[in-house]
Symmetry: C3
Subunit: 441 residues, 3 copies
């Protein structure tokens, strides 16, 4: 079935509003790689899609890593001598370095400074910092806020957090298709109040799962909502038998900003998902760019580690780290836009539409062209009066007939002809109906 035909029944504006509203609802939660924040987040996602949540205890060995202690935080502040909070976690959860160990003390500014993080070149923005694997504490604040601290003054600092044995949580949504071969869609769910990285990915992935659950699917789909790095490693370590079914996949993130699309290829580089994404972006995406694989980035790092070498790429609009708002308080709900979110969801659907419908056919009349005119399927580009197909529809039919030798897939034909996959697929459907093609099983 055509995912796109079905998808395009909803208006982008309506879709976009829905996606942005969902991100807005998740925005205030103080997420981290473990703890209550990610559990609350999974619970909200679970309201929309059939999500199984998994809890892996602290201390579990996952390949070379160990599931860390669970981190939770109630409150945190820096207060001046009058007791006034000059830095206040309750106002913005980015103010605390994520995974900070508890601390409560009164310190002169000079002792405090090594624990303060700012962005001098953007003096109004609060940076986002973490220290997951090294026991540290710190505050993040705007550079202007820091300038108001008095050298002579002592400040009360408090981080009311806990770091204790607990669980690493993640969510998994499995949509069964006609085969157990599956497509993996993965996004991290561990960033606090940051919108493009990573709420845009959560919103798009949730909506995509919701949409696919209404479709009659060829492949099975697995959606992972996981803490970055340790979550992907944990899932891979505990699901080796599922890994064998993975035919391809996408890591989704940074999908709400105003930038053009970027698809970062899998380590394999030439897999079906790589070709499908490149094809869709060439047709759909103005300013779209295909990036070579590199071993840094999001969880494609783990999926594409040499032992797995899965055909999983990463779809983004602006690339992480390339926009100044990245990992700062400026990556907020204004930075992501409804129509951009909707457009990202559509590109995901278009890529999966290729994967779902990429079949190979055999031309049943391989000697010369079949007489399309007799079947009402011909439109001359010269002076011959004929059917009502557009020039491109006509060309799509001729390309499908010419290249359907049982080896070329429809995606191969779309690439070689320069015609969009949906149009090639329509041509194949029509020719199949006319018994001019047979399907290669």
């Amino acid at each position: 079935m055509s995912l796109l035909n079905k998808f395009d029944r909803t208006s982008p504006a309506v879709l976009g509003q829905d996606l942005h509203k969902f991100a807005t609802c998740l925005y205030p939660i103080c997420r981290s790689i473990t703890g209550d924040g990610i559990r609350q987040t999974l619970a909200i996602i679970q309201k929309r899609i059939p999500l199984q949540t998994i809890a892996v205890p602290t201390g579990t060995q996952v390949f070379d890593w160990i599931v860390p202690k669970e981190w939770n935080i109630q409150d945190a502040y820096v207060a001046d001598s009058s007791g006034k909070r000059v830095v206040d976690f309750r106002k913005c959860n980015l103010h605390v370095m994520n995974y900070s160990v508890p601390v409560h003390a009164t310190l002169p500014v000079s002792d405090l400074r090594p624990h303060l993080f700012t962005i001098p070149e953007h003096p109004d923005w609060i940076p986002y910092r973490t220290s997951y694997y090294k026991e540290e504490w710190g505050f993040c604040l705007s550079h202007n806020e820091m300038l108001t601290l008095h050298d002579q003054e002592e400040y009360e600092i408090c981080i009311d957090s806990t770091l204790a044995d607990g669980y690493l949580n993640y969510g998994e949504c499995y949509l069964p298709g006609q085969t157990t071969d599956e497509i993996l869609i993965s996004c991290h769910a561990c960033h606090p109040s940051l919108a493009n990285d990573n709420l845009s990915g959560l919103a798009v992935a949730t909506a995509l799962a919701e949409f696919l659950s209404t479709c009659d699917l060829r492949y099975s789909y697995r959606f992972l909502f996981i803490p970055g790095t340790i979550g992907a490693i944990t899932w891979l370590a505990q699901n080796k038998e599922k890994v064998r079914n993975i035919r391809g996949g996408l890591v989704l993130t940074c999908l709400g900003d105003a930038g053009g699309f970027h698809y970062k290829k899998s380590r394999q580089g030439g897999s079906e998902i790589d070709k499908a994404a490149a094809h869709v972006l060439k047709i759909e995406g103005r300013f779209a760019e295909i990036l070579e694989f590199s071993p840094y980035g999001y969880d494609e790092r783990q999926y594409c580690s040499p032992g797995f070498d899965l055909p999983i790429g990463c779809l983004m609009r602006s690339v992480w780290g390339s926009f100044p708002e990245y990992h700062t308080s400026a990556d907020n709900l204004d930075f992501i836009r409804p129509l951009q979110l909707a457009g990202s969801l559509r590109v995901c659907a278009a890529v999966l539409d290729v994967i779902e419908n990429n079949r190979s056919y055999r031309n049943e009349n391989p000697y010369c062209e079949p007489q399309l005119g007799r079947r009402g399927l011909f439109r001359s580009m010269g002076g011959e009066a004929g059917g009502r197909a557009s020039g491109e529809e006509m060309m799509a039919r001729l390309w499908v007939l010419n290249l359907s030798d049982g080896i070329n897939s429809l995606l191969d034909i779309a690439e070689r002809s320069g015609i969009s996959f949906p149009r090639i697929k329509d041509a194949a459907d029509l020719l199949f109906k006319e018994q001019l093609l047979s399907l290669i099983p």
Copy 2:
């Protein structure tokens, strides 16, 4: 033997005049895919080359197609109420839609209009229209002529044509060579008074066959003069055993206009004929362009259908459809030029010269260079006094020696060295005479 050496004994001006004269002689005939016009055309070609003519009866099944009824036409006109012919087939055979069924009636203009075809953007030109496979009738006229028709007036229309059982005719000229492996040269012969498409192809193909018939040939050559589409399909359907011998070929058309050369690759893309044509056009043709295969165009569509997948490309100057005169009365004898026709014939000869002479050799002194100086074959590029070869002749010898490992062909060597094929061939001939090379059988 070198085809080019032999070819170049005639002056391009003389050749060009001859080619243009031949096209002029064919121009007035009202050709179609069947009927007297194509038979007259074949008879004229037969005066110059040994042409076998074949007649295939109406109703013969050829793959998915059926040989259509034969069409002939005596006269056609649109006359006003005074009996004056305002559209007159006797003045220009494009005035009747080719394959129009007979009609004789008197009609108001409003009923006539759906059967009238013009080109508003070129108001003086008459379009060329056909309706081979749908029984229709129509008149083609200049837009200015149409504007003179009076809305209130009734017009007498007459198409004195017949559509009846008969034959599809085509011509075949076979020139035997040392092997039964053959090269196919195909051109359509079904267009009425249109010069570039397709009289230029008929003239060049006839002259090429005439020229090759005087040469001692390695390969056998088969020239086909056939109605477009149905003719190629008919030939392929009835000559499957001959198809097995085809090593390569060219479809010839649009070879007389002022444009640069275009070679459209075969579906295989990397066959010997594709490489030979690309090499020749790179060396010979300023502004030449190599086009990828596409399943639309001339009869390469049939030869390159997936069941045959023959290495047959298409040589043109301007590409069909890319010049405004295409399929109009402006594609006339002024549109094709003697020197352009002669240049096209020379390019054909140059491509076939590559095919005829593309051998592989083995260097009999593969360890280090042989001492060319001792044999009078060396010319230093530095300060060494030596023989009288030009720098490029010298380099051609070194390239042939270096790459003649039994695998590289002379065309491979020409491509890698960037030296023209004839020069590489001359070097190989010289080195072979000196027993420095042996021929790979």
Copy 3:
């Protein structure tokens, strides 16, 4: 071991002075492909490196060639009627066409002219001419000098040379490494007072051998100092069993001028030395260019003849023949520069550093990334506090881990990542020490 670390302990200025001094010492000698000049040259090289000298008698058959008679020269001049030498070999050994047969006569200018060689477009420069394989005599002089000869006058000409049975001499320096697989470094040693072509090559090759002799080497190295063409042919003919050990090599010449680097690929084109040289030049060399193989040039012509097809390329700065000073008296000691010579030596060391250290490893934790943070090897590009590695060091580690699948070599990883080979090698060393990698034997 890293050749470059060791190499970089000497200052380029000091190195450059040493190289230029060595060239200066060799400059005055009148070398040819045989005779005292090349023997003196080898004796000077022998003072610096362990050089074995080999003498092959005149008349020895070497493949298609025969070792020629030995040429020696004492004096030569053209004197006017007053006995004044107007052309004097004692002032510049280029004045005599190299390999001139003895002659002593008094001739009118008209009889002399066919034996005089000048460069009209550079009227102050003396050309360099040879006639090794055809018994001839001649004088080379500046065009201005020639213009002073009087048409009416007779001149005494004298070439006091001998051409007699003797020897062809060459030098061979073998540096044994851990394996008998060897790298061949070859340079011609047959040009008289010409600095860039070829003293720069002799100086760089000698210094390179001297440097490598202090290193603990993986491969064995063989340096050849040989007469051009006939020397390479002689060595190949008499050392077929050594040829089998050659894994790669470089022909060195024209390494002292101010131009950017050029590496001419071996006939194979994609061998390890070709990739190593291309990688080094991309990283090191501004304005560096990679040239395709061609069967003309220096002794790579022989090494890359089809019977041997050795992976031996040619490293130059300016390409022979592309600079006006080539093969003239203007290719003198001012034309080559100390810093350029030192830079050339460094590029050689860098290429061999790649060859020496190009290993393949296997990631021992191929499933997901190993936890580098725990080992102090991680530096986040995002907000994670971590180790002290630079961004590129960090990326080098991730690339090595990701691509170390036992197939990719470190050079492959350097190429795919765009990170310099030494940095990739450092990362591999570190990861190997941490037991994250195992070496593929």
